[in-house]
């Protein structure tokens, strides 16, 4: 039971941390301001959905040095996204936006690797863990996008700050509680 509980709150926290990391990086590089053309939204969200699923599932692989590899993949993904966007003067077509939004979800991979390593899971459970993380990630991004639109695009940095504080508080609680749940 305790392990099941850990399974759910660690998957929940992993998705929150991934949202924070993805949004903070996108905000710091001004990539987030590319959003605005309603015709591009299907491509944007398709990239996020597929990216979240694939990167998350990749994080469930049992490979030697997977944490280091996943960090490397995440960094390379970001660099490719940056190159695609800035080599086109931040004007990117639908296909390019799909690829960029796919790549920008890459922090979900090392996050998944790190948190599922805290649990002793069978392979099927690792996949379930990844699917839960990606589903929550997509849901949170979708809700945040709706709130951002309703607010006339004024709450972006406040939203990222909220996720930052939430993520740090939970990580501190996990740190203090880790003795209990180990």
């Amino acid at each position: 039971m305790e392990n099941k509980l850990r399974f759910f709150y660690l998957s929940g926290y992993s998705s929150i941390f991934s949202v924070f990391a993805s949004l903070a990086l996108a905000y710091s590089l001004n990539l987030i301001y590319l959003i605005g053309d309603e015709r591009q939204e299907p491509f944007l969200f398709l990239g996020i959905i597929i990216g979240a699923l694939i990167y998350s599932l990749m994080g469930s692989l049992k490979v030697k040095n997977i944490l280091f590899i996943s960090l490397l993949i995440s960094i390379i993904s970001y660099l490719i996204a940056l190159y695609l966007i800035f080599s086109n003067d931040m004007v990117i077509d639908n296909n390019m936006l799909f690829i960029a939004s796919f790549l920008i979800t890459s922090p979900i991979m090392p996050s998944n690797v790190f948190f599922n390593s805290r649990l002793s899971l069978k392979y099927s459970s690792r996949i379930l863990f990844s699917l839960i993380i990606s589903a929550l990630f997509i849901l949170i991004i979708l809700i945040f996008a709706i709130i951002y639109t309703i607010s006339n695009q004024t709450v972006l940095p406040y939203g990222i700050l909220f996720f930052a504080i939430l993520s740090i508080i939970i990580s501190i609680i996990l740190f203090w509680k880790s003795g209990d749940v180990k």
Binding site: A24, G36, D37, V91, F114, A164
Partner: protein, 471 residues
């Protein structure tokens, strides 16, 4: 003798008090009232694409002698369509930084269908814009007036108000612009009166006041359109006025709004100014925030390192505006700020304003008309045949019968050419700069570096947690 000395001393002291009301600060021209009227989302070619050719006109003689701006006449643009007679609005093209840059396509202007969509390839005629064409033909227009930034409303409006934008698209605030760095801050500093006019000022804000950090201290400068009309009539309008058409009653001509509502609203205000005691000391600048994704055939240049957006209409009304004049001067929103600074002999608001051409070629300040005067009298027939109102509703009227109005002076007897340009800027005139470096305000906890710092902190906590407790 004592009383006389006291009076002299009193007058001396009085002369030391900074002037802060309209008309008391010296101007370089006879203009004491700059009145800016702001519409939305139309390209120059959308409104003036086939101006002055009116297929329905009753007076071809006048039309055939009018100055033709650089527009669509004589050009065959594939896919471009006239908005049918009897339709008084356009469908809204896709807007945004991405869409507009796709339209522009690095100056090739061949990608509007992929950028803003098929609905961008349209233009109006005198059927819809006969009233605005008539006003324009009596005064001056600019056919090289570009929106200030290749993006949508927020950055362009901030450039219109502050000569600077910290945003590239319609998001925010944050970031905010310090109030003192806006044109209102500068006018305040130098004692030049100003006012902003909107449909409903009851909550003390206008569309972009939220971007001006410190606006709350200046809410008293926000007035209603009704107050505008009162101040025009009694001659108490401030030196610089900004009139925003944006309102729930849809006078802003933003697609898909009925454009004739905005035209009548505009004509009503212009007519009131012409009838008022301030007419002889006024200039009205009418423009649009940005091109809205509509097709325009002139590639925009860059200015002081800023890529300008597509052309938008620019109409200048004044007793000193040349009749039926087309200015080819490269102008943009910061040119209006440059004119304000020039007129009141103020430092250029910032570097971009200093390097923006001033629309001086439009003005006739020296040559006399056949009747021996320099300042033209009002045109009395602007609203002829129009059911005028400050709050027009449900207008669907073929306006081509209005166009053209009879010229005030015969074109052949005008003491100037009816087209020209000017390269004069505040920088070339040696004006100093008021704000050397613009800033934007974002609290540290919302800044990009701080959020990345929090991310690093979060990673360190997790790393420590991982190392300390292992698996």
């Amino acid at each position: 003798m004592k009383i006389l000395s006291f009076m002299v001393l009193f007058l001396l002291l009085l002369s030391l008090i900074p002037v802060n009301s309209s008309g008391l600060v010296d101007t370089k021209t006879p203009i004491k009232h700059v009145i800016n009227i702001y519409f939305e989302n139309n390209a120059f070619d959308t409104i003036f694409g086939i101006y002055p050719q009116d297929p329905y006109s009753h007076n071809k003689n006048i039309i055939n002698n009018m100055t033709v701006p650089d527009n669509l006449l004589g050009k065959n643009i594939q896919g471009l369509k006239q908005i049918p007679d009897g339709i008084y609005y356009a469908k809204n093209p896709v807007e945004g930084y991405t869409a507009f840059n796709l339209d522009w396509n690095h100056g090739r202007l061949d990608n509007f269908v992929n950028g803003s969509g098929q609905q961008s390839m349209v233009y109006f005629t005198s059927n819809q814009f006969g009233l605005e064409w008539s006003i324009a033909s009596e005064y001056s227009i600019g056919d090289r007036y570009f929106s200030n930034y290749m993006s949508e409303s927020a950055p362009n409006t901030l450039l219109y108000l502050a000569g600077y934008t910290p945003v590239i698209n319609d998001y925010g605030p944050p970031p905010w612009i310090p109030f003192k760095e806006s044109i209102f801050g500068e006018l305040n500093q130098y004692g030049v009166s100003w006012g902003i006019y909107v449909g409903d000022p009851s909550n003390g804000t206008f569309d972009y006041s939220s971007f001006l950090y410190g606006w709350d201290n200046y809410k008293g400068n926000l007035h209603s359109w009704d107050s505008l009309i009162s101040q025009i009539r009694n001659g108490t309008l401030p030196s610089v006025s900004y009139i925003f058409s944006q309102d729930y009653r849809d006078f802003d001509q933003h697609p898909p709004n009925n454009v004739e509502r905005g035209e009548i609203w505009l004509a009503y205000i212009v007519n009131e100014i012409e009838k008022s005691p301030i007419w002889n000391s006024s200039i009205i600048f009418i423009t649009y925030d940005e091109f809205g994704g509509f097709y325009d055939h002139v590639p925009p240049p860059s200015l002081d390192g800023v890529q300008l957006g597509m052309r938008v209409p620019f109409i200048v009304i004044s007793p000193y505006a040349k009749e039926n004049y087309v200015s080819h001067t490269v102008l943009t929103h910061t040119s209006i700020l440059a004119f304000i600074d020039y007129n009141w002999n103020l430092p250029a608001l910032n570097s971009l304003v200093a390097h923006s051409c001033i629309p001086l070629d439009i003005l006739n300040l020296n040559s006399t008309y056949p009747d021996g005067i320099i300042a033209r009298p009002p045109i009395n027939n602007i609203l002829s045949g129009v059911n005028a109102s400050l709050y027009p509703t449900d207008i669907e009227q073929n306006f081509s019968y209005i166009f053209p109005l009879e010229p005030q002076y015969s074109y052949s007897k005008l003491p100037y050419q009816r087209e020209g340009y000017s390269n004069i800027t505040l920088a070339t005139l040696g004006f100093p700069i008021y704000i050397e470096k613009n800033t934007s305000i974002i609290p540290f906890y919302l800044q990009q570096w701080f959020l990345i710092l929090l991310l690093i902190l979060n990673l360190l906590i997790l790393a420590y947690w991982g190392v300390k407790h292992g698996k």
